[in-house]
Symmetry: C2
Subunit: 403 residues, 2 copies
Amino acid sequence: MDLASFLSADSQVMQPSLIRRMTGLVNQPGVISFAAGSPSAQTFPHERLTEIFDQLVAEQKGMLFQYSVTKGNAQLIEAVRARTERVQRVEASEPETMLVSGSQQGLDLIGRVLLDPGDAVFAETPSFPGGVDAFRNYRARLFGVACDDDGMDVDDLAQKVREARASGNRPKLIYVIPNFQNPSGRVWSLERRQALIELAVAESLLIVEDDAYGEIFFEGAAELPRLKALDPTAPILYMSTFSKILAAGLRVAWIMGPAEIVQRLILAKETADLCTSTLSQKLILGFLERGWMEAQVATARAFYQGKARLMQEGLSRHFEDIGRWTPPRGGLFLWVELFDKSIDTLPLLEISVAQDGVAFIPGKPFFVDGSGAHCLRLSYSNVTDDNIGLGLEKLSGRLRRAS
Amino acid sequence: MDLASFLSADSQVMQPSLIRRMTGLVNQPGVISFAAGSPSAQTFPHERLTEIFDQLVAEQKGMLFQYSVTKGNAQLIEAVRARTERVQRVEASEPETMLVSGSQQGLDLIGRVLLDPGDAVFAETPSFPGGVDAFRNYRARLFGVACDDDGMDVDDLAQKVREARASGNRPKLIYVIPNFQNPSGRVWSLERRQALIELAVAESLLIVEDDAYGEIFFEGAAELPRLKALDPTAPILYMSTFSKILAAGLRVAWIMGPAEIVQRLILAKETADLCTSTLSQKLILGFLERGWMEAQVATARAFYQGKARLMQEGLSRHFEDIGRWTPPRGGLFLWVELFDKSIDTLPLLEISVAQDGVAFIPGKPFFVDGSGAHCLRLSYSNVTDDNIGLGLEKLSGRLRRAS
């Protein structure tokens, strides 16, 4: 039986993530890895979560393991709404809010509900492949928009929107990560934020604002307003997650946007997974109810800030002559652009792991337009303090020799 | 901004589940509810899960809350493979097996990977709306196949396959729940199982075998072979879940099928939710490793068997003159077909709840062809023993008056 002939048109475009295919290579024991994109498990408050678990079981018994409603636990939605209003200054009513099984599900549901084949999605260069791939898997056409240190070049975005229209691709979504982006660590300036919203409104485009890293800012970094806080009536789907500030493996994130769309996302979630883990939702609710979140976020911030400071020191010592990098202001990642644009970091990875025992993620998988070969992403979340300087020294030697 | 114009063609066909829309009505306090389709939280082993949790945290600390791999925890996959081979007699190699975030996600991923708009899916009448809706949301065309007490009428299936071809709908999937089906409680005979496989092979169709209830069989019920056990080389996607035998809210299920398709399902899961809750997977792994599953399943079986016996008694006392029902052999549901086919149980539900304080699920939402109005589903998982007879007596009075 020819099983290949059974595959849907959608599934025929699906490709394994380049980065996830590198997992085996970059996770070898003994390798200093700047590759792992996950938050550090050291920041996950396992003792407090245990305290909550034990109390929840005592009170709720088996009900802790029962199904829950599709849109998310009502109390957790209320707690998330209250905190997002206070902390991110993003306001959303109850019908404008839903919980999802991690940001990745949020991105997938957005694609499901909004994208038809050929629709145009505009993404930063570089951008987060999990988001870009989710949209591409609905056979959307991805347009990479030029970016600089201040964010997206909104003139280039306007140009790309025209190109999309001219080529018969209906412009629908702009996918952005304005705070401490994965992979670049970039923070958008206030002016760019405002310009993006203006363009989106003028061109009737929806903005997907992925704020996964917004709370992980370092001392001295000015916290800039979320797009949705700048203009609460603009067509923005705001997303954030508990994965970076609390615990990634619980798989809980949230979406806030126009009720008309959120209600459709809930419908799509109904057949996508019925509901998010009840246990995960109640553990997080317990954490918020006990008022532990702000101290927890402060702990995570301090953890990443300490690592980022060591990264900055190591890069200043070893990379000044090789490339430029994002000044670390928050998040989990630094981005290096090599001065020598002829270097392709993809084939270098294997050599670097084998010869030097140092891993990173090459730049190319982060670009929807195939560029970025001379770049690399350095994550500091899972490298020990002692290994940061050592790893950067070795890596700089490898890159210097490749030039 | 006209947000409706942004919706994808898929999202425009999505409808809220009729059954989930009834949730408010049927869950009123004080109502005797034969409506709730969830397993009983009393069967979820919360004390043992707590013991596992505490030990896991002590050993793994924050890693218990870290991301995991898309296809599922490797040790849990091994444990599931070993147990499914031993208990369900279904064999699958490692690349033929994956974990999903509940059966609902499995059904959705199968639709995603296999269905294009207009493809034909064949389902039992009645069938499980969560499965049917998942496929319909990919704009598949659903064909209801006639069924009797022994399962699907395979001649009618052959006829419907011809009809689909004639109308330009490519026949792709047959969706079946051969053991203690939700909603009918029906068990397919061995002959029907064999006939189905033969037809699927002859007509080049994939079978989705949803075995969510297969382990909840009662004393005296002959355990019939799974389709995939009858013919390991036939094109069958076998699915089962921990939701009914262990804990629904953990959201863990599994799929076993041809590696070529399972690998595509894993790709689709990568952008659908990245990974299933790590905590959920490790709790279940701990349960299996400690050898607690067989005793747990026996407890669940005994619980439902006790309820089903009371249902049988109550129905014999009050329903003999009103309708016929599935003999309870396993699962969580009984199905009643009223003798008076002019009765529509849908409008009766509201009256029954308001006047008698008794809830059930009307038959119609379970039929893809719009029939079944004179039927009702009775779930016994969440009714107290004392209320079973009382509820059935009241309900029988209401149905008798409606006739």
